[in-house]
């Protein structure tokens, strides 16, 4: 959302609704305004933003173009157009829009981060890094740039670095939803579900309607169910690691001529493998059955 000096009461009300994420109310406010507003590019910007937030990129792009016909150089319209075109899947048009905006404001960290995200989407991670570095150089405390740094580390597959960056971000902005979510998700992926739980819980509490977060949180809670605790006994050690350890132990015992002990360990091994494979399935079934019972 761009800060705009708005004096018109109707547009101000619509902008207020957009600021607080109530796009439908904003849309209904904008569709009620008089024809006098049609010559105002801000009207088209707000209307486009409402459509964009409602995931209607075609309508949004059309509306933004009408605004650009009135104000071809308006950065806020070009910036919005970048997002609309991205949502529509026309990344080339999105790039044209953001480049035009950057021509007018080459030092704007917001536009730089926006462009960096666009190039990252198409896999140009080095270029994205350069743009991000420039944004950070211009505005060292700029939160979207810090988030971008985290996302780029993740996209490069540098999970450990991403964890470090997310911890740094959280130290600077303890209420950053993105930081909590990414840290929790990364820890969960790194097979640290117990450590991931508090982070994901905080993220889910902040954004309970974000499907990605709630899905991850539910899955992680599932993994940390007491019945499944033996599947990740120590931080960073998974069930597969335990399988390998059992096999190594059996081989060593056989090497030391301890077949009876090796047999016993083998039985444990078989039991553990069966448990590893079946326990999550059974638990999931029980939980789903319980949910069905509750809903009946």
């Amino acid at each position: 959302m761009v800060e705009l000096p708005i004096r018109d009461p109707d547009l101000l009300l619509a902008k207020h609704y957009l600021d607080i994420g109530q796009s439908e109310r904003a849309l209904s406010t904008l569709t009620r305004v008089g024809s006098g507003k049609l010559e105002n590019p801000v009207f088209w910007y707000l209307l486009g933003l409402a459509h964009e937030q409602l995931k209607q990129p075609d309508q949004a792009a059309e509306v933004v173009h009408r605004g650009l016909a009135l104000a071809p150089e308006a950065i806020y319209l070009l910036h919005l157009l970048r997002h609309c075109e991205s949502q529509r899947g026309d990344l080339a048009a999105a790039e044209r829009a953001i480049l035009k905006a950057l021509q007018r404001a080459p030092e704007d960290p917001n536009l730089l981060c926006c462009y960096a995200r666009l190039v990252a989407e198409v896999g140009q991670l080095d270029k994205a890094e350069r743009l991000m570095a420039k944004a950070i150089q211009i505005a060292p405390e700029y939160q979207p740039a810090a988030r971008l740094k985290l996302d780029l580390a993740y996209l490069r597959g540098h999970d450990r670095k991403a964890i470090e960056v997310s911890k740094q971000n959280l130290a600077q902005h303890p209420d950053d939803f993105h930081g909590h979510y990414m840290l929790g998700a990364l820890m969960s992926v790194q097979r640290q579900p117990v450590g991931a739980n508090p982070r994901l819980n905080v993220a889910a509490r902040m954004e309970p309607t974000n499907e990605a977060v709630t899905g991850f949180t539910r899955q992680n809670r599932f993994l940390t169910h007491w019945l499944l605790r033996p599947l990740h006994p120590i931080k960073g050690i998974s069930a597969v690691h335990v399988w390998m350890a059992f096999i190594v132990l059996i081989v060593i015992l056989l090497e030391f001529d301890q077949p009876r002990v090796a047999d016993t360990v083998l039985y444990f091994y078989i039991f553990y493998v069966i448990y590893t494979l079946l326990a999550p399935i059974m638990l999931k079934n029980w939980q789903e059955e319980g949910q069905r019972q509750r809903l009946k």
Binding site: R7, Y17, I20, G21, A204, P208
Partner: protein
């Protein structure tokens, strides 16, 4: 020197008694000279001639109180109310009430008759002619409102004995179209109080600080008309959570609202603040602290008997034939009042089409209503889906317990779709 000027002015006024600016100057000089009784006599003359400026009404009332001229103070207050003066009105009113109470009188207020309209403040006075009898269902919520709001207003003596007073904030939340605004209006109607509605569009202003001032004026207006009900519609839009905002504009409005609410107990005896929201999760947490909106009531979708009653009300005066509203009510779980309105409208449209086609009268039948029902999905489902996530992930302080209980109820589960 001053005495000479006063005397000279008196002489001139003898010759031109209708020269009001001169009379005002004389009154001000007398006041400056400490001759308060004489000054008030001049102010009184101006007031009677309707020539006292609106900005002078409250100061004159306060001056009158200094010399115990309660009659003049009371007339100044009434004139200020008529003129839509807001600044200082509550203070004058409370001082006058205190003086009258000292002398064993009670000032009789005839509310709303000449109350200023929206131009004077952001609070729009609306008719609160509704009563609970006209709100279908929601018996539990009505009972809670009666206990929390109406009884303390009707029996303040009992509550005062236990250190409680009337007024304060009550927050209604729930899915859209389920009667929150109607309930607020009916609450005012039950108490026979004026009802002031404040919406975000009444308050919001592009100039810095004016939105906050508008909100303040709305509260001042309510204080001046106490006892009354001040209703804040779409509270989430007025006081969106500051931590969720990407930009800080608008935070001043939340701060202002908090200040106004904190003043409720101290300055605003008898001002009952009701608020409603479809998005309680978007409200600033600070609003829920004790003394603010600490009394929260969940307004669920109407249950089957309530839906039947709502349908009865909606179908009154419409030609119908063999309607089984009980069956229809059972077939519309989770339908809000607004959904039922849409259903009835769809059925009526079909009946009209039929009447136009046949040229005769086509009474509304179950067939039309059931066809309408089949094409509609309760709009509350989206809200309940959303609420379900808040119950699961964001209910650490138990603020959504009532919603959680509702989600487990047979009513919620009978909707045919998991919520």
């Amino acid at each position: 020197m001053s005495a000479d000027r006063i005397e000279a002015l008196r002489q001139v006024l003898l010759a031109t008694p209708d020269n009001q600016p001169l009379r005002l100057l004389l009154a001000e000089l007398l006041q400056a000279a400490g001759r308060l009784e004489e000054a008030l006599a001049e102010y009184d003359t101006l007031l009677r001639a309707n020539q006292l400026g609106r900005e002078q009404l409250v100061p004159t009332g306060e001056l009158a109180l200094q010399v115990n001229n309660l009659d003049l103070a009371s007339r100044c207050l009434d004139a200020a109310l008529k003129a839509g003066v807001v600044e200082g009105l509550a203070r004058l009113r409370s001082q006058l009430d205190a003086k009258l109470a000292e002398q064993g009188y009670l000032r009789v207020v005839l509310p709303t008759v000449d109350a200023p309209g929206p131009a004077a403040s952001s609070a729009t006075e609306e008719q609160a002619a509704l009563t609970f009898a006209e709100v279908g269902g929601l018996e539990e919520v009505k009972k809670a409102i009666h206990k929390l709001i109406i009884l303390p207003l009707l029996r303040p003596d009992v509550y005062r004995r236990y250190g409680r007073q009337s007024g304060g904030g009550v927050f209604l939340f729930g899915p859209p179209g389920c009667g929150k605004t109607m309930l607020a209006r009916a609450t005012a109607g039950e108490c026979h109080l004026p009802f002031f509605n404040v919406r975000i569009e009444d308050v919001l202003d592009p100039f810095i600080g004016v939105s906050e001032r508008n909100l303040h004026l709305a509260f001042e207006h309510a204080r001046a008309h106490a006892p009354c009900v001040l209703f804040l519609d779409e509270l989430d839009a007025l006081a969106f959570a500051r931590r969720k905002r990407a930009i800080t504009t608008g935070n001043g409005l939340v701060d202002q609202l908090l200040q106004e609410l904190d003043a409720i107990g101290a300055e605003n005896k008898g001002v009952l603040v009701l608020a409603a929201s479809n998005a309680p999760w978007d409200m600033d947490d600070a609003l829920l602290r004790p003394g603010r909106f600490d009394r929260r009531l969940f307004v669920p979708p109407p249950d089957a008997p309530a839906r039947e009653r709502i349908l009865q009300i909606m179908l009154t005066g419409i030609p119908t034939e063999r309607l089984d509203l009980k069956r229809l009510a059972r077939a519309t779980p989770l339908f809000s009042g607004a959904d039922l309105r849409a259903l009835v409208d769809a059925a009526i449209d079909q009946a009209i089409d039929e009447a136009l086609e046949t040229g005769g009268e086509a009474p509304l039948t179950m067939h039309y209503l059931e066809t309408g029902r089949a094409s509609l999905r309760p709009t509350t489902l989206d809200w309940l889906e959303r609420a379900r996530n808040y119950v699961e992930f964001a209910n650490q302080d138990k603020r959504y317990n009532e919603v959680a209980a509702f989600l487990k109820s047979a009513e919620a589960r009978s909707a045919g779709r998991p919520v």
